[in-house]
Amino acid sequence: MSNKSLTAAELEVKLDESLDPVLSSRRTAAALAKALADIERAQQDFVLHWVDIIIKTNAEMAYQFAARAPEAFRLMPVPAIEEWVIHAMDVYDKQGLYPGCAALGQLRAFAVETAEAAHGIALEEIRHVLELFVQGLAGRPLKVEEAAETCTDTATLFLPARLHKFAERHDNFRLYKAMAAHLWAQTWYGTWRLAPGTSPLTETLSTYRDPEKALRLFHALETLRLNACIARELPGLYRDMQEVQRLSGEMHYPAAWKQAIQRLTSLEAGVSDSLALLPTLHEGEIPAPFCFQGILRPDRAQQAMQERLTREKELFREALGQLGGETAQAKPETETGTTPNPRQYAIEQLLDPDHPGQFIFRLLLDGQPVQPLADMRTLMDSIIQDLGQIPEDYLVAAGAGGYRQPADEKRPEDVWKGTYHEEGAFLYNEWDHRRNHYRKHWCVLRELDVHPDSDPFVARTLRKYHGVLPQLRKTFEALRGENKLLKKQINGDDVDFDALVEARADMQSGMELSERLFTKLHKFERDIAVMFMVDMSGSTKGWINDAERESLVLLCEALEILGDRYAIYGFSGMTRKRCELYRIKRFDEPYNEVVRQRIAGITPQDYTRMGATIRHLTKLLNDVEARTKLLITLSDGKPDDYDGYRGEYGIEDTRMSLIEAKRAGIHPFCITIDEAARDYLPHMYGAVNWTLVDEVRKLPLKVSDIYRRLTL
């Protein structure tokens, strides 16, 4: 390849070919080619390379990219351009073509941001740290999410996606921290707390001539109060917040605020003080906001709180019912025929000896303190955080009768019904090798149960193989290993008399006395957890499915002898929004009739998107404690899914997911019946971590044998 730039004519030919679908008589490749002819050859190659990549996703995006590429080279270095493209592709993935094109269009803004990124900081980098930070501070766990407005709805802290206000990265992080802390303080120090008998904030504010101004004033007053709370309890944090504020300008308060400041910074100040000060200061000037305070969104906060309060009230009353039920069992009923008195619950408020001005809440049942159930403490704390107390009407146990399923309980099967609802499902990234980047939260995976089939498949299989079963059992029994008595050890439980006699003889003949005179019992411990991942795609229909199920039956027989912990999951799905994992046997489940029926009930489903499956099973394996962890795939072909998850893309994503598994200390292995497997399996699993069973009917016996050799 020469280093000379391609001419406009040469470029036009190339672009015409690849961008054909989106070109027309009015929109030709000629204009693109002309602009691109002026840049260097390496840059041209870069553009053509990316056009080819993007076109696989969307041709219009590729065109838009090509059209803006020359300007991009003027504005940014190459790595930043790549980032710009990947960002736009992410937007396209998530939101579709128009936002995707718009993202490409915001080239200038992106360039400015990238320049700022050197010292700026993205929320994504520190989101988890901030979440842990506010959870550590106190109160219920809060989520952190990115949003255009810095505010909170009392359940989530909304923060900007990026900060580059300050020249130092460190300061930008401090600003994030100050924002999160301020929003946390709103939820913890009672900005949103609803004292009994008070009207919601929105109503109070609407009585003012200018409710919007009243809200800003309220926020300014609350910020003063919250800052004082933070200063008292978290001096280090307060220092950081002051420092951040100093960097963006000193605060000035009108003289009229002097008294207000005094009142709000006192120890007893509460949200009622801020509300009380509203009328007096409403006409005056409001000081500029602190750089970290964002805005107040009372509407959102009230809504989130209302939902939570309703839910928690129900849960709390149910928990009381359970608690009452448990303690009632201990008491025999005195009179039959009469309904027993309803149990009397009460809340006792005691001054906290450790924290002056704060209270400890104790639950009383019929006048006696009771220990709340495990989750009840958290529930109580959350209610108290919202209301400052536990109101009377909470203290009525939910009606007698069994546990009632909460109305909003979601079943994984239902989730798909509301298209694109991803609640209750697991989200996994997917590797896009063309972009050399993960697509974030790309796959939606759900765990489902295999429908048990009462067909006596297992019994039939055992009959079919009854000739070889004893042999199979025997080989596995041999593998089970036994405790060995090790002789001639330096130290151990007992004296090794053979060694001692030898040593005495040696000594008599003038040699040195050996130190190895003890016996030691070596305990045989097989500490293996193995996960079987079974292909349930449509292509397994017929005898492959039968062979897989028979394999599982024999395998379970063998594993029961060995005592290894094992789990079996089947995988299938269609498109990234519906990856499905079928539970056949969990780690903590015994090999019982239900599991046998589930094995019988394995039926071919749709496609095979392996990456998300492997990522999820890796997560499950991570939760198991074992010295050796294995992930064994039973497969009949390449990864393949409806929406472009095939060929290189599928293979590369699967490969990446396996690399992630290996990083987590898991050994992947694949057993396949695809004769073309040697073309791609070594690349995915590594040269030795797979095996081909060339005859499907041999599979059942082979699988057990392969497992035996694998764990020898």
Partner: protein, 277 residues
């Protein structure tokens, strides 16, 4: 336990080296002192439950001092065999010599035997404590054919951390149902502050912040931390501060890094300590 050290430590037991001469500082949280004393008098074995670093071992030292009994502590590990506990034959030039393990030694010297983190030991070793832990109070030594009977002042105590959520590290019912169980938890904030002050010499304000910091890390239990900072870690941090280390550095090295290896968690915990100091 290495075999060669055994004779020396056996002599140590007889010479009273296991006696605790000065009162170990211990701040009672509830009625544990009274319960332990009663169990001791009634010859009942005791099981101490509680998270790491909440004062179980210190409590044992304190009780040994209080009851004026020698204290023999065995830290259990997964290679601890029954032989290690009971005793073994060693070989000298011309003969084999029986050497008591810590368990036999404790029975012979009427000591308090404390098996720390008993679930870490091999499953079969927990069985050798059974005859000692019920009303028989005997220790059969198979290899010598001896049957040691424990005196009235022998006491067996074991500790166990129920926080491990592993089926492998659970105490068998047959074992646990032989013991009087005393539950330990982190002390209340006021008490913990007192302990930190007394153990480290930091001032009131500093001790209060340390205790607050511990509460913050305990808020994170289950969200990435297996355990919050224990009282022991607070004492470590306090000691570093008393030696002139900057509070944030002390918290980072003595607490954050000791709790976890996850960089994000360390960052969050560091931010929490920074918000207090």
């Amino acid at each position: 336990m290495s075999a060669s050290k055994n004779p020396a430590s056996a002599r140590a037991a007889e010479s009273g080296e296991y006696l605790i001469k000065h009162e170990p500082y211990y701040e009672p949280v509830g009625e544990e002192v009274a319960v332990f004393e009663a169990a001791f008098r009634q010859q009942l074995p005791v099981l101490l439950k509680g998270p790491t670093g909440c004062g179980k071992t210190r409590f044992m030292q304190h009780m040994a001092w209080r009851l004026k009994r020698p204290l023999i502590t065995v830290s259990c590990h997964d290679d601890l065999t029954a032989t290690d506990l009971v005793g073994r034959y060693l070989i000298t030039a011309n003969e084999t010599v029986w050497v008591d393990g810590p368990m036999a030694r404790a029975v012979r010297t009427n000591a308090i035997l404390y098996l720390d983190e008993i679930v870490e030991a091999r499953k079969d070793t927990t069985v050798v404590i059974h005859p000692l832990a019920d009303d028989r109070r005997v220790l059969p030594i198979e290899k010598t054919g001896e049957l040691l009977t424990a005196g009235p002042e022998f006491c067996l105590a074991i500790s166990y951390n129920p926080g491990y959520q592993s089926v492998l590290k659970d105490l068998k019912q047959s074992t646990r149902q032989r013991f009087v169980a005393v539950e330990f938890n982190y002390p209340s904030a006021a008490l913990e502050k007192k302990i930190v002050r007394r153990e480290t010499g930091v001032d009131e304000a500093m001790a209060e912040r340390l205790v607050k910091f511990a509460a913050m890390t305990r808020n994170l239990k289950g969200s990435g931390l297996d355990e919050g900072a224990s009282t022991r870690l607070l004492v470590h941090a306090g000691k570093l501060m008393s030696a002139g280390i900057d509070p944030r550095t002390a918290c980072r090295t003595a607490i954050a890094e000791a709790l976890t290896d996850d960089p994000e968690m360390i960052a969050a915990v560091n931010e929490l300590s920074a918000s207090l100091f």
